[in-house]
Amino acid sequence: MSKFVLEVENLSASYRKNIVLEDVNFRVKQGSLTGIVGPNGAGKSTLIQTLLQLHPSLTGKVEFFNRPFNKSKQSIGYVPQRGSVDWDFPTNALDVVVMGLYGKIGWLKLPSRAHKRLAYEVLEKMDMVKYADRQISQLSGGQKQRVFLARALVQDAEFYFMDEPLVGVDAATEKAIMEILKELKTNGKTVMVVHHDLQTVEDYFDHVLFLNKTVIEHGKTSSVFTTENISRTYGGKMKWAMEEGSHVVDTR
């Protein structure tokens, strides 16, 4: 039986006066690939940021690998939303990937040739070698996402968080990213992804976490990804019809 690598108890967080997360409890098994879904403003990004202590928590306990976050930091990788950085920053794709190794290189030391080779190999895996020297402002949205993912992969973490990696990328990039995620899972890594497209949840994730300020439901996709849970998460206004295996959204 696989063990739990993330345990969250009674987590809550707020932005100014608004409570955005309340009494969040869930446990994640090693080697699972979880999609976090929920409406806008449900606290999906905040959940990840609170778990990683990038956003302060009001209450609650979070343990990775049975240890507090600060002691397991090195084994956790994070792929933030693409829009979170200034892509006009003067640097190239390879350089951004090398940044993923800064923790390993050690502070105040410069990256060696071996570090650069490692970053290069990961770019190769993401099919991005021909853009290694390209200025990051001149990359397309999908290429930027691949660079971000490569930067996380090079960290060689055990647990990955990704914030909407599939938003605004083309089909080829989406496929490439999903292949990488499945490979991570095969290698026993644990991945949690904030996801928007309900139509692909069943194809992409073996676990799903419905979030709307608190955990509505969490479990195996095959058992919890039901119309009932979707409407509980997205509210009564959203009507769901499952016709010929596809979901149709009515947002009246």
Binding site: Q49, L52, Q53, L54, K73, Q74, I76, G77, Y78, P80, S84, V85, D86, F89, P90, T91, N92, V96, M99, Y102, G103, I105, W107, L108, K109, L110, P111, Q135, R151
Partner: protein, 309 residues
């Protein structure tokens, strides 16, 4: 009047304004990517009351003590800007505008009082407004040299850390780099550069020496490291050339000359810079248009010859 240029004291002054320019160019680059160029202006103006109060308490002009006074008042300014935007509904730019003018007004008021008092107008405090490099004595020069070299060293040693902190602070935190720590070091090097520079360049114009070299450097390179070196080069050259020019006339303020030299580098970069400089962009655009035009013409000709329209 030219004899001053040959004096050994003046050569030290030149060296110190050059190193100041280098430090300002480097720290200015950090401010540029932290999107806080205007912050340096606010902090420079906020330094003035500290200088005057330190002089009033001490009764003499000792650059090191005045610098400490300037630093304290500048940091209070920085703190107030932070506090105003977090505790009230006033936004950062308004907070900076308020602090800048209030502190500067207070400084000018105190300066007027000092100058009216007996012996006050010989204090040379006026030089802190527009800068007077020639008024520096050897001990001033050494104070400046040591502090600026420390700043340069801090920026240089932590090059990789600055880069990730400026590009993606959240990711840097994930790697275990304390963003609070980096932010404190950033404020310290910024304030240090400002306060050591105010005697030579003046509180009004020191910000220009922080802002202009880095924007000029942006037109030449797409590498953070090269941008750092270029920004340091532009800053250093502006410092030395500006000081030299201002020494030609007796009592000419240094700050304006340094800023005009820095601005000339900017104009050159804006026009001739190889990364999106006006001239290069224009040439590239024209070349592409020509290419496309000749292609369409060629296509049209083939169609014509086939009798198709």
């Amino acid at each position: 009047m030219w004899s001053i240029l040959a004096s050994s004291n003046f050569q030290w002054v030149l060296a110190s304004t050059m190193i100041l320019g280098v430090a300002a160019g480097m720290v200015g680059l950090l401010a540029y990517w932290k999107k806080q160029s205007l912050m340096s202006d606010a902090l420079a103006h906020a330094a003035l009351p500290g200088v005057i109060i330190a002089f009033l308490l001490l009764g003499e002009k000792n650059l090191f003590i005045l610098i400490i006074g300037a630093a304290i008042s500048s940091l209070i300014g920085a703190f107030l800007i932070q506090w105003i935007q977090s505790a009230t509904r006033i936004t950062e730019d308004t907070a900076m505008g308020m602090i800048l003018s209030i502190f500067f007004g207070l400084g000018i008021m105190l300066l007027t009082i000092v100058n009216r008092s007996a012996g006050g107008n010989q204090s040379g405090l006026d030089s802190f407004i527009f800068g007077q490099a020639a008024s520096m004595v050897k001990s001033d020069v050494f104070t400046m040299l040591i502090l600026t070299l420390v700043v340069i060293l801090i920026v240089f040693l932590g090059f990789k850390e600055w880069k990730i902190y400026l590009f993606d602070p959240q990711f840097a935190r994930g790697l275990g780099l304390s963003s609070k720590g980096m932010s404190v070091i950033y404020t310290v090097v910024l304030v240090t550069t400002i306060v050591v520079g105010i005697q030579a360049v003046g509180v009004i114009l020191i910000a220009a020496l922080l802002i202009i070299p880095s924007v000029s450097a942006r037109y030449w390179t797409n590498s953070f490291f090269c941008m750092l070196l270029l920004s340091a080069l532009f800053g250093g050259l502006s410092g030395i050339i500006g000081t030299y020019l201002s020494a030609i006339g007796k009592g000419w303020p240094t700050g304006p000359f340094i800023v005009i030299v820095a601005a000339s580098f900017f104009v050159l970069s804006l026009v001739f810079g190889k990364e999106k400089g006006i001239l290069v962009s224009r040439l590239e655009f024209n070349a592409q248009r020509k290419l496309l035009n000749s292609q369409t013409n060629a296509n049209a000709n083939t169609l014509d010859s086939k009798g198709v329209h």
